[in-house]
Point group: C2
Chain length 374, copies 2
Amino acid sequence: MKFSIDRELLQQTLVDVSKGLSDKKPLPVLTGIKIEATDESLIFTTTNKEISVQITLNAGDNVIIEETGYCVVPGKYFVEIAKKIEGKLVDFTVFEEKTIKIVSERSDFTLIAYDKEFFPSVNFDSKNEPISFESKSLKQLIRQTAFAAATSESRIILTSVNFAILKQMVIVTATDSFRLARKEQEIETGYSKTIVNIPSKSLEELGKILDDSSDSVNMYLIDKTILFKYKNISFLTRLVEGNYPDTSSLFPKEKMLSIKFKKADIVAAVDRASLFTNSDNLSVVKFNVSASKTIEISSNSTEIGKVVEEVEALEISSNFPFQTAFSTKYLNDALRAIDDSIIEINFTGEIKPAVIKGEKTPELTQLLLPVRVF
Amino acid sequence: MKFSIDRELLQQTLVDVSKGLSDKKPLPVLTGIKIEATDESLIFTTTNKEISVQITLNAGDNVIIEETGYCVVPGKYFVEIAKKIEGKLVDFTVFEEKTIKIVSERSDFTLIAYDKEFFPSVNFDSKNEPISFESKSLKQLIRQTAFAAATSESRIILTSVNFAILKQMVIVTATDSFRLARKEQEIETGYSKTIVNIPSKSLEELGKILDDSSDSVNMYLIDKTILFKYKNISFLTRLVEGNYPDTSSLFPKEKMLSIKFKKADIVAAVDRASLFTNSDNLSVVKFNVSASKTIEISSNSTEIGKVVEEVEALEISSNFPFQTAFSTKYLNDALRAIDDSIIEINFTGEIKPAVIKGEKTPELTQLLLPVRVF
């Protein structure tokens, strides 16, 4: 097996394909990248128990295949080598199925190949009709929702992001039961009713591969997995089984107090107000609304002291006094997920969730349960 | 006590004075910054067991003193507050000796003052004649030598940097017994024979305060401490007691093989050659000199593989075959400390130290003991 490849193309390919690398020792072969050279193309494959990635490069000026074959190369080291080598072309040769030579300019690397027979076969075939997204919209959708999923595995279903697809609309929901992110988005191609729970970590890895471009990302449902096809990249992830909880009852119907802020003002004020943490080492900020447009955002610690920030609201729906408090981290996450210069917070009660939305982006809703500190 | 101060001036002052902050809990008052307001000036002081810093700001347009007095403010939080607040002026007021209010634009911080009676008094008086350095030369001198001092405290004297001053020359030496950095430098003002051992960590903190400017830094010897005065900053550090070992015998007298490299070439080659670490998790690079100007720099790991880099020498003194090996980290540290585009390595034997110098900077010598791997 022997090929030459443009260095920059190799670097980008390895960064993308390494999203499916295992970093765990028990199955060493999964820490490797399978590379297959055929007459027409070079195929890079990785797989761990969650994610599998395959990237196909067609033979041409940047990919010159001299001898077909396949091998499994230690992933981490190959990625590091590709980052540090110089020169335009990288030569890759496998000797006697066990020694890999990587040569570029005056650098000569020898790697010991993994036993290729142990590399599992992964099926990236797509048969049924895809659901189509625009790359930049899907990237944004992931950034705006996946963070709200649970990281603790105590309720495994909450570590996933729920995609509910009906016709040309997808409703995406993520929650860890203290906060929730939900986005409604139109999709390019219609589809019959489908509900899938995609691990939030898989989505975050996919988000790193996607560009802010208008290129299409096609999503295929295959048994208990989901396959994304983007340019020359196939990204397969397992799904989380089970029923995602019904979250519709969490959305408050009543309105109580609605305040509009400039996003920059409230983000800066919350940032400063969170300098002191409470005795549990949790940072909590309080909102204090009085009979004016000046909202007080504050925090205090008996040991250190107190911060009071005044933020001028752009609009306020009523002027009765009201107090509530939020986890600073959760509030920050929600505010930063909203790509809008004006943010509206709807408070529905001291112990009921607040609804946070951008003025011009009603399709995205962030729900936040208050913290009881009074 | 009450004053107003320009925000940017406050930020810079706090960053510099915090070099003397303690991060340890046992003596909480040492995690504080003492601020004294007199009619003429504002004086910031920190002290821990190693370093004390004092910065004096004269009253004027940027520093408006309304009421004299002094207090000790929690250091870490005040630094964080100064970084995050907005507005041009910051108002600082102490109420009843125990509550500190820091107000800027629409932010209002309340901090609980430390008990000021417990703050130790530090003497920053300078009586005797100083030794003068140019700020940028002293900053460079620290960067080129202090890294070679020991970090382990098993031989405490080696955690210091030795300054041997005679007339208008200072010889600075740092070694951890595996490598050594030595620089000879002229100083602005002459001085009688003086030898001091300054903790390398103190010098590194001082280096962060110094600018790349031509301003003078005056160094005063006071009992078992050394005081640096730079602009409006006084920086006091304890010295390490004891006799610094005589290192003159370490400098090889014989010459064996001398090779000149472009610095950029050898730094890049060593960087790539160090991708694989050996079984002890130590990265070691081998030099292989044969009968040509092409030098081989390589490393190998039985588990992962091998790297061979070829570097073209600019000059080579003899052409008999020679092999040696170095710790990659130590070699990298030495090469990066040399501000010269051409580097000369003098090998004096397989188990004798190599002497590394810049072609045009003979005043700086880096010694490196080989690692035995053959």
